[in-house]
Symmetry: C2
Subunit: 223 residues, 2 copies
């Protein structure tokens, strides 16, 4: 059984390889998903504070509503989960956000969750879900927008942040920006010696589970 | 890519359809898993209190250690997560428990989680992970062991428990016994009007995510 999944990027980009990077991560792991990616317009620095979130919000809602009838599920591929709660109330298809998904998955791996993101504080879903398991937060040096994660310097800063989190006793590293997925940070950190929760991988797995839940594809009684 | 998954049932049974019921739910959703099920011996009432947990613990550890070299991942298909923390320290393959998995997934669906289980209190992973989102708990009337969930009366009690949870304002129903999966309770509750987190579906999805995390199957940078 295959599912048509819509994936919304909150970063406007003309570069196909950047645009499709999240779709590719998910499709590599879930070949049963037929994913299409669209990005919102005029948001070349993505979402990195309250102002850019507020500007993005109505664009995401408009795109989602237009898309609803042609998809089986919608992924908002941003760790700030912009419009996710609102869209869950108004759409008939499962809606997944990267932040909620990553936070949920983290709890399986550890009790001292170290987070890497691009804002001054972790997105609110991480605080709401992890509570006292949110052990530490790192904003990599020199990083302001998601684009800063894509450079050699950005990647070095990510590695340093991960090492800092490990040194203070975190038992899992969780990403709070999907730009970390675009830059391949999970691979970059593969030898860090801690589990790494990539937010794009997490949103893919959560979409799968939401579709399983919706379709209640369980066995019949005692069969 | 396919994975060999070992699934341990903590209920001793000679009935093949009961033995394989969890395996079948997961395989229906994850055809890439080649699952084998084994059950521990002399535990015909499963685990339903501290005493039966303590008896089961060493049996699970022994079975897991013997199995380790032939599998890519191990599922302990019990919401009490017996031996899961211990096995994660001593085995080299990902180890998943039904309880932790179901609790993690629940946080994606709601803020007032209603739980149905077979003990006097929810298993500890639900309390530790859900914290103040653990809104209410129901032990279906007349149920003492997992076997009591498999009868017509047991199924009626499950439905009543779910209705109770809905009536007091729960926004998601989560199972805290995998016997609820064996009896097909997710299907039974498909019209309840709330999302239902089945612990066997959750452990399958979490195993998938743990394998994704382990293999870091992400795209290379900007490709």
């Amino acid at each position: 059984m295959s599912y048509k999944i819509g994936l919304i990027r909150v970063l406007t980009t003309k570069k196909t390889e950047i645009l499709l990077s999240h779709q590719k991560i998910i499709q590599n792991n879930f070949p049963e998903f037929e994913i299409e990616t669209k990005c919102i317009q005029d948001q070349f620095e993505g979402i990195h504070d309250e102002k850019t979130l507020n500007i993005a919000f109505p664009k995401i809602v408009k795109l989602a509503k237009e898309w609803e009838k042609n998809i089986d599920g919608l992924i908002i591929s941003c760790a700030g989960d912009p419009a996710v709660e609102h869209l869950r109330k108004i759409l008939s298809v499962p809606v997944v956000g990267a932040g909620v998904s990553a936070a949920c998955m983290s709890l399986n791996f550890g009790k001292k969750v170290g987070i890497i993101g691009i804002e001054q504080y972790p997105p609110k879903s991480y605080e709401e879900i992890l509570k006292d398991r949110l052990f530490a937060y790192e904003l990599p040096e020199g990083v302001v927008t998601t684009n800063d994660l894509q450079t050699d310097q950005g990647r070095e800063s990510i590695t340093n942040s991960a090492k800092n989190l490990k040194s203070i006793g975190c038992d899992v590293i969780t990403f709070a920006c999907t730009g970390l997925s675009t830059t391949g940070a999970a691979t970059l950190l593969k030898d860090i010696g801690l589990p790494v929760v990539d937010a794009v991988m997490a949103e893919g797995a959560m979409m799968k589970f939401m579709l399983m839940e919706k379709n209640k594809k369980v066995v019949d009684r005692n069969v």
